[in-house]
């Protein structure tokens, strides 16, 4: 049977969130003790942060920790919805071309727009806007390719995603050829996924994405459950399948597009987090999506904190940590699952 009841998992995740967030705030190149944390907090509500700790906490760490949590919410939520839409527990938003499209968009901006690189709108760099545009365009293209008068074929969407990803990868390589050393380094760091540039502006943009994800995805839970039976089965259960697909694709393109644009490609989160949750509490989206949102936030905060502290005084890209942490855990859960599966088959 299932290791955990969904209600227990939700309590556990809520219980873990505050201490993990506090620990993340305290850790870093400078360790802030709880007492100093309280003092800085008092300062914040007094005349604004002035001390060294206050500045570190308020202008560096707090936005970064919040950014990590919001990114986790967006990536894990969209991952859960994608896995439901593709009816495959190993699906990932990158399947429909978000990540590769965003890479190409970012590459185009770095190389072609190098003269304007310092420019931007509302504090968002041109690179980020290029990435968002690239990611969104790739998804729309994939969706259009897979849609005809009879509906959207999920299998075609998968293949179109591969084709568009390959095309975007080729464009990206082309930009790399024309890039100079500085551009190359910037591009490759961005592709590894880093939260180094966290600031309140980025937090507010990703907050918008997280708000859209949290507001729209949980509402599709019941329909996604029915969709797992198959498309025509879902239709016979009264689910408007085409509009469901469209909604999920748009929310994912928007959410993951913004996540990738602000923080680069943080791999594995959207794939693994919903998968863990499913192994713990089962596949019901009414519980899977909310728990994935929470678990995604926790996982990203932990991963980003590790990225900040493991090789002090330097810093690792967060995407490297998520992949290094995620892949082995994923494999171990798969092995456990197989054991349980065989045990369940015995009389």
């Amino acid at each position: 049977m299932r290791p955990l009841h969904h209600r227990h998992l939700r309590w556990l995740l809520w219980a873990f969130l505050p201490p993990v967030l506090l620990l993340a705030l305290m850790s870093g190149a400078v360790f802030v003790t709880p007492a100093e944390l309280l003092a800085a907090l008092a300062e914040l509500f007094g005349d604004g942060p002035q001390s060294r700790d206050g500045l570190i906490l308020f202008s560096l760490r707090l936005p970064r920790v919040i950014l990590a949590a919001l990114l986790g919410v967006v990536l894990a939520g969209c991952g859960a919805a994608m896995q439901g839409l593709f009816r495959n527990p190993l699906a990932d938003p990158s399947l429909i071309g978000v990540a590769s499209g965003a890479s190409a968009g970012a590459g185009a901006m770095v190389v072609l727009g190098s003269g304007l690189i310092s420019g931007g709108l509302l504090g968002v760099s041109l690179v980020a806007m290029g990435a968002f545009a690239g990611g969104f365009a790739a998804v729309l293209l994939v969706y259009r390719l897979a849609t005809n008068s009879t509906g959207t074929s999920v299998a075609t969407m998968l293949l179109a995603g591969i084709a568009i990803s390959a095309l975007a990868g080729a464009l990206n390589s082309l930009f790399n050829v024309f890039a100079d050393n500085d551009m190359l380094r910037r591009l490759s760091l961005w592709q590894m996924g880093s939260l180094e540039g966290a600031n309140w502006q980025r937090v507010s943009i990703v907050f918008l994405a997280a708000a859209v994800v949290c507001a729209l995805l949980p509402r599709q839970s019941q329909a996604l459950n029915a969709l797992l039976l198959g498309e025509s089965e879902a239709r016979h259960l009264g689910v408007p399948v085409e509009s469901l697909k469209r909604r999920i694709i748009l929310v994912t393109a928007f959410g993951v597009g913004i996540a990738v644009a602000t923080s680069g490609i943080v791999a594995f989160v959207g794939l693994m987090v919903p998968h863990w949750v499913r192994l713990l509490i089962g596949p019901d989206h009414r519980h899977l999506i909310p728990c994935s949102l929470l678990m995604g936030a926790l996982f990203m905060v932990v991963a980003d904190t590790l990225a900040r502290v493991v090789i002090l005084p330097a810093e690792l890209p967060t995407g490297v940590i998520t992949a290094l942490l995620g892949a082995p855990f994923f494999v171990s859960l798969l092995i456990q699952q197989r054991h349980r599966h065989y045990a369940g088959m015995l009389p």
């Binding site: 527990p89 029915a226 025509s232 016979h236 259960l237 009264g238 408007p240 089962g282 596949p283």
Partner: protein
């Protein structure tokens, strides 16, 4: 009249898959759709459920054109069990049956009770807590049947209910084949209209009140079982020599090949 098809035909990519199919199913009737592979049985189910729009003719369900039904509303009165359902997610069997309650807002308590009754009806109550992906083929099929039953278990909105089953007994053992056919007959007795695609002619004869014999997308014969199950028609459509006698107990036609 629960379901009426009037001269329905469909042409896809220049190929005519069905032409000039007309029949009606009343509440309390069981229509068995018979025919060799490729005769258009599954296409017919797609059209009568509204999934595919016919190129010609029209489909009416409970007096309204099938396209005029809102999907959520139609789902409360019409349930369809497809041939094979691929579900790769580890739901428990009772969760799968619960998915049949998707179109309804009857509350968790009522839904739980219905799920239990539906599982019991297919002799699957002992499967309730098992993981669906670990069940055998026949057990999965029974759970899916229970899901479809749960969908129209209650008479919502006072509509007459239509149950459409595509080879429901394909992977069942003998006992569960009989149980399913008896269940179909009992549901018809409760006022359900049933459309059943089935390959075994004797099983069809066991519960059908009407039969529709299809071949190459056309109706060969439509009427009472004794009228459809004749040696001449069976040889013409299935290319098999057969004798037809009365079943010693039920009196239904019994096809001996």
């Amino acid at each position: 009249m629960s379901l009426v098809l009037e001269q329905v035909g469909i042409t896809l990519g220049g190929v005519s898959l069905l032409s000039d199919v007309s029949f009606s199913v009343d509440p309390g009737e069981v229509l068995a759709v018979l025919g060799p592979n490729g005769a258009g049985k599954t296409t017919l189910l797609r059209i009568l459920s509204g999934e595919w729009a016919p190129s010609r003719g029209r489909v009416r369900f409970n007096g309204r054109d099938i396209d005029d039904w809102r999907p959520a509303e139609k789902a409360k009165a019409m349930a369809i069990l497809p041939q094979g359902t691929s579900l790769d997610f580890p739901f428990t069997a009772e969760e799968v049956v619960m998915l049949g309650r998707t179109p309804h807002n009857t509350g968790v308590q009522r839904d739980r009770a219905i799920v239990e009754e539906a599982l019991t009806a297919v002799d699957g109550q002992h499967l309730a807590k098992r993981i669906y992906t670990q069940l055998s083929g026949g057990e999965k099929q029974r759970v899916q049947l229970a899901r479809v039953l749960a969908q129209i278990w209650e008479n919502a909105d006072r509509q007459s209910r239509l149950l459409v089953l595509d080879e429901p007994t394909a992977s069942f053992d003998l006992a569960h084949q009989q149980l399913t056919l008896d269940l179909v007959a009992r549901l018809a007795g409760q006022g359900f209209a049933v459309v059943l695609v089935i390959h075994d002619l004797n099983m069809a004869a066991r519960c059908a009140t009407q039969m529709l014999l299809l071949s190459c997308g056309r109706v060969v014969e439509y009427g009472a079982p004794a009228q459809v199950l004749t040696p001449a028609l069976i040889e013409r459509v299935f290319e098999v020599k057969a004798m037809v006698q009365a079943h010693p107990v039920t009196g239904n036609p019994l096809v001996i090949t």
